[in-house]
């Protein structure tokens, strides 16, 4: 049969979820950090009264509007996909996970309906204080949205606070234990820090690009400088958070860590494998380049610490794609190390007073623009592929979670998703690059001067100042 040559319905459903969620998360990964950055910019403007911060706020708020819109649109699909493709999972985990996702929807909805419009269109129409409040609430709202989503994801990694009913459903026993499950606090810290870094690197790349064209552009200097401070301070901290999360994972999900490290045998004084080819059939990592004992030192903080290998676990309890976990982890770490290096070099150049004039460094910063998105994406692939073969770790298998949908149906929807996403988000990302290409100028126009972003929600703000919109540069209210 022709269909025998195709992947199974389960594999295609997994790929479809991976594709749509990866695409989706690119947007919030930037939005969450950018919202906080905008709040900082506006706060600095109100505090120092320097126009340059207002110009930067207006420059980046246009990017924020488009990015937020794409995040909302790609997110709607996610809230339906649990049911369409993972119905067995939804039925059993709904009583626990449903409210967490429900609260996320309510928060996002509330935010979209209320404060986003004021933030995007309200400068010059409401007072400065009220506008700043709206910006801060949007920033806090994105953090709350992330809170619920990450809580739900973490519960799938380290389920707690539940009981299992006679029909196999997970039933809530203790909401506090469910929401603040063991892996949640560190994961939240690590992810939010990742979004801040993502934003810093994109802002830094745009600033560097404009500095290469015009080194005297003060606004480009300020955004570049802020981005480099952020990278220098946060990238090393992120390494620490990542290490802590690794220690935690070793306790709760030793198989995942073994796959990340490429360890098959349990050993004392385990080496750190820098590179290699994990071979699932031969159950070994071939052609490995190792540093003796460093693995134990990193994971156990002890030269002779014992590390469990994959062979310790029956094959049906191991991650289903060890090379994917192994390599994704390395890509994330490599991106992170490059960020740390960028931060250190920026400090050195700043001390020498040539931060804005060193062309090779500016080009490097431009090249690092997508590195935050890359690190976040591959970090998620590491943790999600490492959670396999389970959806609820140790309790519910991925194969038992899928909807009873025939393979051709999933293949059709997957093809549709790929085509529509590339057209729609391709157009959106093209538009973002057009905004980036434009240098930040004095008296930057804000989101008001752009064609309206309808996804700004049911905001009244555009109408409030409709008559004023004839002026190209609406001034803030005094």
């Amino acid at each position: 049969m022709l269909w025998d040559a195709f992947p199974s319905a389960l594999d295609m459903a997994r790929f479809q979820f991976a594709f749509t969620v990866t695409f989706h998360f690119l947007f919030p990964a930037f939005t969450i950090g950018l919202a906080s950055y905008l709040a900082v910019l506006e706060g600095l403007w109100l505090w120092t009264k320097r126009e340059v911060y207002l110009d930067l706020f207006r420059y980046w708020v246009k990017v924020f509007a488009v990015n937020f819109a794409m995040g909302v649109v790609s997110g709607i699909v996610m809230s339906y996909q649990f049911g369409t493709n993972w119905s067995a999972f939804s039925d059993r985990t709904g009583p626990v996970l449903g409210p967490l996702l429900g609260y996320e929807v309510l928060t996002a909805f509330f935010l979209e309906a209320g404060f986003l419009g004021v933030m995007l269109f309200g400068l010059g129409r409401v007072g400065k204080g009220l506008h700043f409040l709206a910006t801060c609430l949007v920033a806090i709202g994105t953090l709350i949205s992330g809170f619920w989503i990450l809580s739900a994801n973490s519960w799938m990694q380290t389920p707690s606070g539940y009981s299992i009913g006679p029909d196999g459903r997970f039933l809530p026993e203790d909401w506090w234990a469910i929401i603040f499950n063991p892996s949640f606090p560190l994961r939240y810290l690590h992810t939010i820090t990742g979004t801040f870094l993502t934003t810093a690197l994109i802002v830094g790349a745009v600033g560097a690009w404009h500095l290469l064209r015009n080194g005297a552009n003060e606004r480009a200097r300020v955004m570049f400088s802020m981005a480099m401070w952020m990278t220098a301070a946060v990238a090393p901290a992120q390494l620490v958070f990542g290490d802590l999360q690794g220690l935690w994972a070793l306790h709760y999900q030793p198989q995942k860590v073994a796959a990340m490290e490429g360890h098959w045998e349990t050993q004392r004084g385990a080496p750190l494998i820098l590179f290699g080819m994990p071979d699932m059939e031969r159950e070994e990592t071939r052609m490995s380049l190792e540093i003796p004992r460093l693995g134990s030192l990193i994971l156990r903080h002890d030269w002779d610490g014992e590390i469990q290998g994959l062979k310790e676990f029956p094959p049906d309890q191991r991650p289903t794609n060890v090379p994917l976990v192994f390599w994704s982890f390395r890509i994330m770490v490599a991106a992170g190390l490059l960020m740390i290096a960028l931060g250190f070099v920026s400090l050195w150049l700043r001390w020498r007073g040539t931060l804005y004039r060193t062309d090779w460094f500016l080009r490097w910063a431009v090249g690092m623009g997508p590195s935050g998105l890359i690190a976040v994406t591959f970090g998620w692939i590491t943790t999600e592929a490492g959670r396999q073969p389970f959806t609820v770790y140790g309790l519910m298998r991925t194969a038992d979670s899928v909807s009873p949908i025939a393979a051709p149906a999933v293949a059709t929807s997957l093809a549709l998703f790929i085509v529509v996403y590339f057209i729609v988000f391709g157009a959106g990302i093209w538009y973002l690059f057009r905004l980036f290409r434009h240098p930040p100028e004095a008296h930057e126009t804000g989101a008001e001067a752009e064609p309206p972003i309808r996804t700004a929600g049911i905001t009244p703000a555009p109408s409030v100042g409709r008559d004023r919109r004839h002026g190209a540069h609406p001034e803030p209210a005094e």
Binding site: S74, T84, T93, G102
Partner: protein, 355 residues
């Protein structure tokens, strides 16, 4: 006992949410459906500007429906969504496509580009509506369930009845769109809206009649609801009210036409002409009656013919936990929505509005 009451509260809440979605996204999808009958570029711009400030807020209710169902009736969510796999996925993609077309038609650099975005907007609106209608028909017709899971095939949603409801919804949303244009515009575009509303009204009433005649034969329970005594006492007023409302609808169209002929000049900004809004509210009334009729047929099933709302309900702790948040946030959102509609009241003139 408490659990059962909370489940009823939630069923009513979600039903209300879906109805609000149908009312609000209905007319803005309807405007997209009418595009092939609005050839003039300026008319299209004005028509789009009437829905521009509100359409995205309208659509958000859809997410609340999906999220709410997962949280409160996970079993229904887990059975209905796979059963309606294709129509729902295509609907979501059509809505995304339409949303982007909405943005991009204002950013088009040439008339030709704009024409293509117009086609995408209109096509997306039609496909999304048709899929919603199909999904409704397939749900009402019944879903095969075995051991807490969907047990049918991936083409089960295709049937004469579901295609019928798909077409009915196209006519119905088109009617809402036309009535919305009568309320929100004037001059030639309003005349066009009235013309369209007349025959879309007849078409919608025809579909309501046919669907009502077919419904009792789909499930024995439906038949019992409508024809057995004393249930018929509850059900009987519905068709009577439909007839009365249809009569009021056509009279309102005539009145609005009469008033437009007598009007000396353009309507001042922000002045609400309530008599121009009567056809719109009559059309909403027809939707409400059809919805209540549907509710009478289905109650207390959430997935006919197998699963009741109590069987599908999440445990009490879950329902109460999320009810707290909903009770605080939904009234605020509703108040805000009402405020926005009030802010954008009155006629939208050509060339005015967002640009």
């Amino acid at each position: 006992m408490i659990n059962e009451t909370v489940a009823v509260i939630w069923a009513l809440l979600i039903a209300t949410g879906i109805f609000l979605y149908v009312c609000m996204d209905g007319f803005d999808l309807g405007v997209g459906i009418l595009f092939p009958w609005l050839r003039d570029r300026e008319d299209r711009d004005t028509a789009v500007n009437t829905v521009a400030p509100v359409w995205d807020g309208n659509e958000t209710w859809l997410v609340l429906g999906g999220g709410g169902l997962f949280a409160v009736f996970p079993l229904a969510y887990a059975v209905i969504l796979p059963a309606l796999y294709m129509p729902l996925i295509v609907m979501l993609l059509a809505l995304i496509f339409r949303g982007v077309a909405f943005e991009m038609r204002f950013r088009a650099e040439t008339p030709k580009q704009r024409l293509w975005w117009d086609r995408a907007f209109s096509g997306g609106s039609m496909v999304a509506t048709f899929c919603q209608g199909i999904a409704l028909g397939a749900l009402v017709q019944g879903i095969e369930v075995e051991e807490r899971a969907y047990a049918g095939g991936w083409w089960d949603w295709v049937s004469g009845f579901s295609v019928l409801t798909g077409l009915a919804l196209l006519a119905g949303y088109g009617l809402l769109g036309a009535c919305w244009l009568i309320w929100k515009t004037e001059g030639a575009l309003q005349d066009r809206g009235r013309e369209l509303a007349r025959w879309l009204g007849s078409l919608t009433l025809g579909f309501i009649l046919v669907v009502s005649l077919v419904m009792p034969f789909l499930q024995p329970e439906f038949r019992a609801r409508w024809f057995d005594f004393p249930a018929i006492l509850l059900a009987l007023p519905v068709p009577v009210l439909v007839v009365l409302l249809a009569w009021r609808f056509y009279r309102a169209l005539d009145e609005s036409e009469e008033a437009a002929r007598k009007r000396p000049g353009p309507v001042p900004p922000r002045q609400v002409l309530w008599h121009d809004g009567v056809p719109f509210f009559c059309a909403l009334g027809l939707f409400l009656l059809s919805y209540i009729g549907l509710g009478i047929s289905m109650w207390p099933m959430i997935v006919p013919p197998e699963i009741t709302i109590w069987e599908a309900a999440a445990p009490e702790s879950t329902q109460v936990f999320i009810l707290v948040g909903a009770a605080i946030l939904i009234p605020i959102i509703l108040a805000y929505t009402g405020y926005v509609y009030w802010l954008f009241r009155g006629k939208v003139q050509a060339g005015q509005g967002y640009h």
